[in-house]
């Protein structure tokens, strides 16, 4: 049988040409090719004829080749096509992301004509392709390459959901859907290659990815089913059983206390239902199997001698991965459940220390309680505040009412007061005017009376003064008369006195002389003396008589003087009276002659 060698060789060469070279990879995807898969497919059917080939995008064409269930003889073509696809996405994150996105969109849209890796692995229930295990196998491998060491595509794929919620189906994650498909295929007794394909993908996905592991554990029955599948079945399923152990080991290794099935529970499950010995045994058997052990040297393709399916179970990337981490997986079962491994992916630590998580948890708990309490307090305070505000509002309203009322009262009072004041002012002004008039009248009255009185007084004063004046004149006249008289008398008397005096004196002289004479004659004439004495006595008597007449004149003078004094007193009285009258508004003019 002539081997179809050119097609695979050409495809493989293409793969070599573009692998890891960004420009080539990007350019490659733009190329169009004959849609040969369709043609080949129809040719493999009896009676199939050549079709007119249309052009498709190369990636579409390659996918079609890979995923079409050709007879085993065309396996190498499929293999080479898958290599091409792998080369296309090799170490090119944007292309991978783009490819995956397209696959997700296509899968979610449910369109069936374009080959879709996602749909292939997730909807393996259709029996149409169940005879060809490599459909699922190739699809799994391609997805494996899409997500291997690529956190972005992993995240993308992890967010895919299966199951129509509106149709009442259970919605599960992509990982859970894959696991479900895996379990189904194992239970159904599908070819080992299918389950190996699924498990390669799951193992590569879950390794060093606690989030993926937790996602896997989200479906509670998965672990149990895996254990069950691994313990049932014959010894001819070494590879599948071994892969179950690998998957279980990875799941346990990267589980935590917070996983949906906690690490300790997981450990218990695996220990009790499987047992450490079985785990290690199956793992070892897998490792020692020539297909895996000698993978690097075995031709991954359709062997000449085989009549059945090719002896291709593993992908090279996966094999490298498994062999690198194998010893770790062996030891996984012996790791204590309380001990969790820190995982560093892309330089970011994915897991965290258990103590840290637990202490943070307790802190969080405390904080949550404190918060709760604070919220309760806040509620209480709010309530109280509301109360207070309501009371305050009420009080304010009453106060306002009160205030308005008082304002109104005040206003009216003020108004009344104003009116009152105006009225009073008016009255006052009227009264004032009236009083003023009265006063004026009274004043005028008084003034006229005063004038009258003054007039009367003046007249009476005048009269009085006239009277006084006349009296005074009279008196003055009489006084003058008397004075004159007196003066005359006085003069008279003075004259007389003088005369008398002189007479006296002369008499005296005479006497003296006489005396002398007398003296002289005394002797001689004591007789004369006696005569003289008798003469003296006569003169004494004369003198006495003169004195007496003088005294009488003196008395007369004194009586006149007293009369004059009396008159003076009267005059003084009149003067006083005049003065008093003067004080009373009268101005009499009186001259009093001084005596």
């Amino acid at each position: 049988m002539v081997q179809l060698i050119l097609f695979p060789q050409a495809l493989t060469t293409c793969a070599d040409l573009i692998r890891g070279n960004a420009i080539s990879q990007e350019g490659f995807a733009q190329l169009q090719v004959n849609h040969i898969a369709e043609d080949l497919w129809s040719q493999t059917k009896p009676g199939g004829d050549r079709k007119v080939l249309d052009q498709v995008n190369v990636i579409h064409g390659l996918l079609d080749l890979t995923l079409t269930s050709f007879p085993a003889s065309l396996f190498d073509v499929r293999m080479a096509a898958s290599e091409c696809i792998k080369a296309y996405i090799y170490q090119h994150a944007p292309i991978r992301l783009h490819f995956l996105r397209r696959a997700i969109e296509g899968h979610n849209a449910g369109v069936d004509d374009t080959p879709n890796v996602l749909s292939t692995v997730l909807r393996n229930q259709e029996l149409r392709h169940s005879a060809d295990p490599y459909r699922v196998w190739f699809a799994s491998v391609i997805i494996l390459h899409l997500i291997f060491d690529d956190s972005e595509t992993k995240t993308q794929l992890m967010s895919v959901r299966e199951g129509d919620d509106s149709a009442g189906e259970e919605v599960v994650t992509c990982i859970q859907a894959l696991t479900g498909a895996l379990i189904t295929s194992m239970q159904r007794g599908d070819d080992e290659r299918v389950s190996v394909g699924y498990m390669m993908l799951l193992c590569a996905w879950l390794f060093e990815d606690p989030d993926a592991v937790n996602d896997f554990l989200g479906e509670g029955s998965s672990v149990q089913s895996l254990v069950h599948a691994a313990t049932q079945g014959g010894s001819d399923s070494v590879l599948a059983h071994g892969m179950c152990m690998v998957l279980l080991g990875i799941v346990y290794e990267f589980s935590t206390k917070d996983s949906p099935i906690p690490r300790s529970t997981l450990h218990a499950m695996i220990s009790s239902n499987l047992g450490r010995e079985k785990y290690i045994d199956k793992l070892t058997k897998l490792r020692e199997n020539p297909i895996l052990r000698d993978f690097e040297v075995l031709h991954q393709g359709y062997g000449e001698h085989s009549g059945g399916l090719p002896e291709v179970f593993f992908d090279s990337t996966f094999v490298i991965f498994l062999k690198d981490n194998f010893s770790r997986l062996l030891r996984a079962i012996d790791r204590d459940p309380g001990f969790e491994v820190p995982v560093v992916a892309n330089g970011v630590q994915k897991g965290i220390s258990r103590e840290l998580v637990d202490s943070l948890r307790t802190q969080l708990e405390e904080k949550a309680q404190a918060l709760q309490k604070a919220e309760n307090d806040l509620l209480n305070l709010d309530r109280m505040l509301g109360q207070e505000q309501a009371d305050h509002r009420k009080a304010k309203e009453t106060a306002n009412l009160e205030l308005n009322r008082i304002r109104a009262i005040n206003q009216s009072l003020h108004q009344n007061h104003q009116d009152e004041v105006t009225r009073i002012q008016k009255d006052h002004r009227a009264a004032l005017t009236k009083l003023q008039l009265e006063n004026q009248r009274a004043l005028d009255d008084l003034q006229s009376r005063l004038r009258q009185v003054q007039q009367e007084a003046r007249t009476s004063t005048e009269q009085a003064s006239k009277h006084h004046a006349s009296q005074t004149r009279q008196l003055e006249g009489s006084i003058q008369e008397r004075e004159q008289q007196l003066k005359d008398n006085i003069e008279d008397y003075e004259g007389r006195l003088r005369a008398a005096d002189e007479e006296h004196k002369s008499k005296m002289h005479e006497l003296e002389t006489r005396a002398r004479l007398a003296e002289e004659q005394m002797q001689d004439a004591q007789s004369k003396l006696q005569e003289a004495l008798s003469k003296i006595e006569d003169s004494r008597a004369e003198a006495k008589a003169a004195k007496e007449s003088l005294e009488d004149k003196e008395k007369a003078r004194q009586s006149v003087q007293t009369e004059l004094d009396d008159l003076l007193i009267v005059l003084a009285d009149i003067e006083e009276k005049r003065a008093n009258d003067k004080v009373r508004g009268l101005r009499p003019i009186i001259y009093i002659a001084h005596i």
Partner: protein, 77 residues
């Protein structure tokens, strides 16, 4: 190689033996090509760039998806 491709396209009714020989020759050319593109080889990246710029990738792809290859299948089946 491009010339060989064109030949392939043109001569549909070439005899099987000749065709087979030609296919083997093509296979050889491709094998040689692959020698320049060994994974991890020191010149591989540069060679890839050169090959891409020369348009060989397109040629190989066309070869891969060419009708005559399909003919080989039919002949086999």
């Amino acid at each position: 190689m491009a010339e060989a491709m064109q030949e392939q396209e043109a001569e549909d009714d070439l005899q099987d033996a000749a065709r087979l020989q030609r296919d083997k020759n093509m296979w050889g050319i491709l094998a040689v090509l692959r020698l320049f593109l060994v994974r991890g080889g020191s010149g591989t990246v540069a060679n890839q760039v050169s090959f891409w710029q020369s348009g060989i990738v397109t040629q190989v792809l066309l070869l891969a998806f060419g009708r005559s290859t399909g003919l080989a299948v039919r002949a086999e089946v």
